[in-house]
Symmetry: C2
Subunit: 382 residues, 2 copies
């Protein structure tokens, strides 16, 4: 039985390989790339040779061997490449030691980086992938709409976050939050209220927060949700290996006028950018438009943070939460059909806290199609 | 104010640096190592030069600069090293591209791997670190003892797991589960019941399970907890950046005799190994003793799995869940004072499921001191 290891159809796999567009030998090793090429995780490697079907070298789990599947204990069990071969590796993710070990194990003459081609392909989702992400958006939206029922008077930010995590898990959220690179860490997302929102974090997320411990300094810090304050909820939308990214606002009692205006500004930015974004649009023009609208509202000083500002207003999302393209002032990318991007115009108002929404959009010929459809208004917690 | 960036005392930091024992220039870059050297996470680098105080190059969060703190945008902002310097880098963790970029940015003549020295030092915990881990053990034990109250009739494995996660988070569990290497992924641990326990996983954990989705194929798969079955709970013990590792068994109704004997065997292995393990003990002798006891019980075929068996019975634990030393048949390590190891003799009985316990121990002159003190017997769920 051919391709038993591959849970996506042979056609879907071929389409993804075509989008990657490799022109030489390559060995795929990272979990997120193995998932992209097979729809599943296994421990091992996928060997791609021009004009040949993918070959799978599997360490775990135990499975039946076949034409395309070979069980191995270590990479040295993979047959050597023809003399003089340049081997493509994921040099943006693979450790230095592992990269050299794989080169030696396969007796490659030299190595070259396939990370950019893989990231480029993954940024343009296939119709199958977009359907996966729409399912995520529906489930994530369903949980967000139950948040007012999860609130109990006197709750802290972390207590509300734990309640949301619980509901997400019961809805089928896998919990993992795959991040590109090793420097960003988070547990299931971010719930922010009050002054804590203005605490800078070491991580390159749009918003900060002190966190519960210096070992994970981001997000909720145990601050009580106070009357007249809002709660920003930006939680994990991974139900099937893909994820959507959505932020919504919740309020306790009456919010100050400035916060309500900042929320309106955020919604206006999302709607304006959604109309602007078509294949060919420069992503930096989306960032500039967002900044321009924030300026018009007089909110520049609070745009994407206050004490520490993030340098982007949106980012690609898919198997990982920080994919291409990035909506940033110096970005050189243009939108492509099938890009899926999160747009998150957010503000931190000193003395009040974080406010703003985030949606995930699919780039179509007609504009950006929103796939995170929970109501965008500020929802009262009681 | 000197060392404001460092949340551990100068003496504690010096002791850790002494244990690492570098003899040349080194640039520390990974979150888990930055946490080890400072007690906090920041985005950036720690430059270690022989005979000098550590220098911190910080990208985020924004902080005051000082003698030892320099804010940078990118690694190229770090001053060049003296000509001819060999630079130590974490080549076991740093990506190939990042390693070469750092070498170039600092104009190092060559690079050398400091990962083994860092991992070696981290495996021998200081008294301060051991106290942190004792706190983890206490909190984790407190939550485990509340598990019978979390059970509701008709629950599935994932529903019970979500309830335990919720309680852990309210107790202060940070949720993150730091793992060495990029190949292992898990969300907050593993709850296993019934046939699912015998499904091999791609990950190198002691136990498998199908998981809820091929995107994260490990652990609970939605199987209902049935009368006459047990539930194995092996959940996240990270409350402060360190973590303990503990597994306990829960039962629904009367368990078969074979399962009860396997549990007794697991407890006997733990107690026997705890008495054997002193500084100088070969870790492979601990593995061999565990295997020998399993054989005496006639349980070899189920030891550390059935369809797929794990090749170890224990492992170091600390900032990451898979530290040194490893208790495996071909391990060459010997126990050292201050090692903290998890011992997890587990069995998978076909048609019944997983059974066995796990404790975290500190290696002392007098033997292994258990720091996960929840009762070891099988606890009824109702």
């Amino acid at each position: 039985m051919k391709n038993k290891i591959c849970l996506i159809s042979a056609e879907e796999q071929q389409e993804r390989l075509r989008r990657i567009g490799l022109d030489g030998a390559a060995l795929v090793s990272e979990n997120f790339s193995i998932f992209y090429l097979t729809g599943r995780i296994f421990a091992g490697y996928i060997l791609l040779m021009p004009g040949e079907n993918p070959k799978y070298y599997v360490k775990r789990p135990l499975m039946d061997e076949g034409d395309d599947i070979t069980l191995i204990r270590k990479p040295e069990d993979i047959p050597a490449l023809p003399k003089g071969t340049t081997l493509g590796l994921e040099l943006g993710a693979l450790s230095y030691n592992d990269a050299l070990r794989l080169q030696k194990a396969l007796e490659a003459d030299s190595i070259t980086d396939i990370s950019p081609k893989l990231m480029g392909a993954r940024s343009r989702k296939t119709p199958f992938e977009i359907n996966m992400m729409k399912t995520d958006g529906e489930k994530q939206s369903a949980v967000y709409q139950r948040i007012p029922n999860m609130y109990r008077p006197g709750m802290t930010d972390i207590e509300l976050q734990a309640a949301i995590e619980h509901e997400l898990r019961l809805e089928g959220c896998l919990g993992v939050f795959r991040v590109n690179g090793s420097s960003m860490e988070i547990h299931m997302g971010n719930v922010l209220t009050g002054e804590n929102s203005d605490t800078p974090s070491p991580y390159d997320f749009a918003m900060g927060g002190e966190g519960m411990n210096p070992a994970l300094p981001v997000g909720a810090n145990g601050e009580k949700i106070k009357p007249g304050r809002a709660v920003m909820v930006d939680m994990n939308g991974c139900f099937n290996g893909y994820m959507t990214d959505m932020t919504r606002m919740y309020s306790l009692g009456k919010l100050p006028e400035e916060a309500i205006r900042a929320h309106e500004c955020s919604v206006e930015i999302c709607h304006t950018l959604a109309k602007m974004g078509t294949p060919g649009t420069e992503t930096k023009s989306l960032y500039e438009k967002a900044k321009e609208i924030a300026e018009r509202y007089g909110l520049s000083a609070y745009f994407m943070g206050h004490n520490q500002q993030a340098g982007f207003v949106g980012h690609g999302v898919g198997i990982q939460v920080n994919e291409l393209p990035v909506l940033a002032p110096r970005s050189k990318s243009v939108l492509a059909d099938g890009n899926v991007i999160a747009i998150e115009p957010k503000f931190v108002i000193p003395g009040f806290g974080a406010i703003g929404i985030e949606n995930t959009y699919v780039c179509r010929e007609t504009g950006l199609e929103c796939i995170t459809l929970a109501p965008e208004e500020i929802i009262p917690l009681q």
